[in-house]
């Protein structure tokens, strides 16, 4: 009998999803109840995850198709916390748009479930299953504000392109299966014969699919449109949570079955990384919509994360994970600010709407200032350390070109962050925004901003948690 305790969080979430669906059908006006129950579900599964899997070094289940290790447990916890915070701060936004429905929390729960399956997958089939589960939920979430043309467009676009990339990915899986005789990561690693060129094709196809999911250049085209069109709370979800899962799969896929083929894939990752960093920095300059800008900036940030992956070392993986964790916090803070730009039941999302914010809302602007400087990677804020660890790992492998290109692109990227700060602090003020925000929104903003600001006092803690991750 397998040790089911280890996947208890997944089981718990899937049971809750079914239960909540049934509850939603039979009980009228239950959206608030279901909302709260979902929060509760996420919280409990996070606790179970920590409790059951935190101290495990590496266990595989179900004929080695599922793996539980420190990386899986850490990434699951981050995913769950991210999902929890997204849910908790989006309730007001949903109410304003009158889309506070039972489906929203349930869809988020099921996409989280898919991500958790992805994170733990040690087999191409399990991985694909998880990926599709989360993607399906995300398509619907993108169109959630269905009365708005843009939202429907975003969902459709996301669906078409994502389905295409899933197809590529699946084709890559079949190639790999054909040439190695197994879909299991460990078995593939043993069976590997690097002379098979078709195998390289397989890797490339899968990498393309994955690069699409994390919106790395040149597979980023969907991101700006989808981010702009989706409801803001869903955009927040898009920028944070799926990336964690996709990154984990990325790491596992490259470093477990194909670590010996590093010569084959390293160049691809370096290219993806450099292209994303530069493109993300340059394309963001001309944007006027904050959500589009965030889309491009997230492309850039993915570039830095990939730079850590390209190193082929444990330090690199750890630095990528640190980067994505800090990035999640920064994004959460940024979107909390965005969700506060509300006046007369309407949300504002143009950069010009921030004009002169510092006059009327000094505290909110101060938070934005800290967040933006942190995103730009200026010390002593958390964003600097994220970049610092990545480049430390990159330089350890003597990849100076990557490091220098990366750091130069931070200078370009600094320009558009500074532009927002300029608009907030140097420009003429506009009307006041509402100040009656929900307690959770205020909490998440304060909490994440303080985390960003004071990270430099205790930088060792995060490193200690991450240093337990040993993939190679």
């Amino acid at each position: 009998m397998e040790n089911l305790n280890l996947i208890l969080p997944e089981i718990f979430i899937s049971l809750s999803v079914m239960f909540l669906l049934i509850l939603g059908v039979f009980k009228k006006d239950s959206s608030k109840l279901i909302f709260n129950l979902s929060l509760f579900t996420i919280l409990i599964s996070a606790i179970i995850t920590i409790n059951e899997t935190y101290s495990i070094s590496r266990v595989t289940l179900f004929k080695d198709s599922v793996v539980i290790d420190p990386m899986a447990s850490l990434m699951k916890v981050i995913t769950l916390i991210g999902g929890f915070l997204v849910l908790v701060i989006s309730s007001n936004y949903l109410r304003v748009f009158k889309i506070f429905k039972i489906e929203y929390p349930i869809l988020i729960l099921s996409s989280i479930l898919g991500m958790m399956v992805m994170i733990s997958s040690n087999d191409l089939m399990v991985f694909y299953m998880g990926l599709e589960l989360q993607s399906l939920a995300l398509y619907v979430l993108a169109t959630f504000n269905r009365d708005q043309l843009k939202s429907s467009e975003a969902g459709l676009k996301y669906f078409v392109l994502s389905a295409l990339s899933s197809g590529l990915l699946l084709y890559g899986c079949s190639l790999i299966y054909g040439f190695s005789g197994s879909t299991n990561f460990d078995v593939i690693a043993n069976q590997l014969n690097s002379n098979e060129y078709a195998l390289t094709f397989g890797i490339v196809f899968i990498l393309v699919g994955l690069a699409f999911k994390i919106s790395a250049v040149p597979f980023h085209m969907w991101a700006p449109d989808v981010y702009e069109g989706s409801p803001t709370s869903v955009t927040l979800f898009f920028t944070m949570v799926p990336k964690i899962a996709a990154l984990t799969v990325f790491i596992r896929f490259l470093y477990v079955p194909f670590i010996n083929l590093i010569d084959q894939w390293q160049m691809i990752i370096i290219f993806l990384s450099i292209a994303s960093m530069i493109f993300g920095a340059i394309a963001a300059i001309g944007q006027t919509n904050i959500k589009r800008l965030v889309a491009y900036s997230s492309i850039g940030h993915i570039g830095y994360t990939l730079a850590g992956l390209a190193t082929g070392s444990n330090d690199g993986i750890q630095s990528s994970i640190i980067y994505i964790s800090i990035y999640v916090v920064m994004n959460l803070a940024l979107f909390s600010c965005l969700l506060m730009l509300k006046r007369n039941e309407q949300y504002y999302e143009d950069i010009d709407d921030l004009s002169g914010l510092s006059k009327n809302h000094p505290l909110l602007s101060l938070c934005l200032l800290i967040i933006l400087f942190s995103l730009a990677g200026i010390p002593p804020l958390a964003g600097f350390f994220a970049k610092f660890y990545v480049f430390k790992a990159v330089i350890e492998q003597s990849m100076y070109f990557l490091a220098i290109v990366g750091l130069l692109s931070t200078v370009i990227a600094a320009f558009y962050y500074l532009r927002i700060i300029k608009i907030i602090y140097f420009d003429k003020e506009k009307e006041k925004y509402d100040t009656d925000h929900g307690i959770w929104l205020k909490f998440s903003l304060t909490f994440s901003t303080i985390l960003i600001l004071l990270y430099f006092i205790f930088p060792s803690q995060l490193i200690e948690v991450v240093s337990r991750i040993n993939i190679i």
């Binding site: 610092f388 480049f391 350890e396 600094a414 320009f415 500074l418 300029k422 602090y425 430099f456 060792s460």
Partner: protein, 493 residues
């Protein structure tokens, strides 16, 4: 002594800023905020004086060293001072209270935020001068960009946005290469601790590239020709207090960095690149002096003169002679005092007439005599008249340069003449001459706070001009040991 005196110097302004943050922001003349800020900085100044008294000038070892584990197995938070850095700390803590007094007249809106920015800036600057770990140094060095960007951008003049962006991006671009170099040093030597690196030395084959990476950062910050163009813009647009901080202290970070890191860590490369530095310094001295002659805006003129003066500093540092380096340090201190005073002088007339153009003045000597006298003093100090601190620095630098390279020294000496030309011509056009502009008659002479600030700056300028012994005492051993270490390193290679 176990009391963490350096950390308290760094932290105190931040505590003051936090305190201000929680006070209410009133419009208009926010006296409470100003007194809090003033009190904090004066206490900081007293602490640094106390530090100077405790300081033992007979050794070149780092004193008051504090070390704490910061990132486990990687970086330690380490601070300490030697004879070179302590003077810069004193300069910082001395200039900042004067800046705060000077905001009386210049900053009208959001005074509290302005003071917070200045206080945070002070703490970062002190951090730069006492950091003994490359990464800690980098943190402080870069973090200073944030408050300065805001000071220029929020409280600056009409073209402030352009200037603030230029300042920020230029310096950031220079610094990221330094970050690459710092991380490389970590992987080459296994540590970023400056003291350990001094002992270990860095393999000569890496030194050239690393030196260039550090150079890219310091050259922008110094600023050296041809990457000096951000400085005039930033100076002109920044509010007076911002210009003062920028000229008096920020520019010195780079000079300090050259001495501490470029010379200390990369002796071989420093020899290799001396011709480069000489060329750029001489160009800076001559070329920017000519540009200064052409300026119509007083602040811009002084900004260009700063570039020329910093040219002397870099020249002096890379003579690698006792006199040259000592001269550079004294020149930096003196320039800190004098350029601060000159910017304040410009600020004084700007507050009254709202013009910085030279041609809108002339003949004000009879209207505001006190001002004219003090302005005269600082003009003379800027052109290096014997009896002012400016003379000592320039003289020593040229002496060092003559020892090392005759041609360079001769050309640089012309810079002194040009310096006299543009400063005296500026003074003549502003203060003497016929009173053409009738509005000038309404100008009032220095008020109490302005008088106080300028006198505070005049005293050390004159004192160290006549009696520079305390400065020499402090730096002598550290500099001579630095040179000995350098020569040893060169000989062993």
């Amino acid at each position: 002594m176990n009391f963490p005196i350096l950390s308290s110097l760094i932290l105190l302004p931040i505590v003051g800023a936090l305190f201000l943050f929680f006070t209410k922001d009133k419009d208009g003349n926010n006296l409470t905020a100003k007194y809090v800020a003033l009190f904090t900085t004066i206490v900081n100044f007293l602490i640094s004086i106390y530090l100077w008294l405790l300081f033992d000038p007979t050794t070149s070892a780092f004193q008051f060293v504090e070390e704490r584990i910061w990132i486990k197995d990687f970086i330690n938070y380490k601070v300490g001072v030697d004879g070179i850095s302590i003077l810069f700390i004193l300069l910082t803590t001395f200039i900042t209270p004067l800046c705060i007094v000077s905001v009386n007249n210049t900053v009208k809106n959001r005074l509290r935020d302005f003071l917070i920015a200045i206080l945070i800036m002070e703490s970062f600057m002190i951090g730069v001068f006492c950091a003994l770990d490359l990464i800690v140094f980098y943190l402080f060095f870069e973090a200073g960009l944030i408050p300065m960007f805001l000071i220029i951008g929020i409280w600056g003049g009409p073209k402030r946005v352009y200037s603030a962006f230029k300042f920020f991006l230029y310096t950031l671009l220079g610094s990221v290469l330094m970050l690459v170099a710092i991380i490389s040093i970590y992987w080459i030597s296994g540590t970023t601790d400056v003291i350990k690196l001094y002992e270990l030395g860095i393999d000569a084959k890496y030194q050239n590239l690393l030196w260039l990476a550090f150079f890219s950062s310091f050259a922008v910050k110094t600023p050296m020709w041809p990457v000096h163009t951000w400085l005039p813009d930033a100076h002109v647009e920044a509010p007076t207090a911002g210009s003062v901080l920028l000229a008096a202290i920020l520019l010195k970070m780079a000079g300090y960095g050259f001495i501490r890191f470029s010379l200390g860590l990369f002796p071989v490369a420093s020899e290799v690149f001396t011709p480069l530095i000489y060329t750029l310094s001489v160009i800076a001295i001559i070329f920017t002096s000519f540009i200064a002659l052409m300026q119509e805006d007083m602040k811009k003129l002084i900004a260009y003169s700063s570039v020329a003066h910093m040219g002397f500093v870099t020249l002096g540092i890379f003579t690698l002679q006792q006199q040259g380096i000592e001269g550079s340090i004294i020149q930096m201190i003196s320039h800190g005092l004098v350029s601060a005073a000159l910017f304040l002088c410009v600020g004084v007339v700007y507050d009254r007439m709202h013009s910085r153009l030279i041609k809108s003045y002339g003949g004000i000597v009879t209207i505001i005599p006190k001002y004219s006298i003090l302005f005269m003093l600082f003009t003379l100090a800027a052109l290096g008249l014997p009896g002012t601190s400016g003379f000592i620095g320039e003289f020593l630098i040229l002496m060092g340069a003559f020892k090392d390279n005759f041609l360079v020294a001769v050309i640089a000496s012309f810079g002194v003449i040009l310096g006299a030309a543009y400063m005296l011509w500026l003074y003549k056009r502003v203060v003497f001459g016929k009173l053409v502009n009738e509005d000038l008659k309404q100008m009032v002479d220095l008020n109490r706070s302005e008088y106080l600030i300028l006198t505070c700056l005049a005293v050390p300028t004159l004192f160290f001009g006549f009696y520079p012994e305390p400065l020499f005492n402090t730096i002598e051993v550290s500099v001579s040991d630095l040179i000995n270490m350098h020569n040893l390193n060169i000989a062993s290679k």
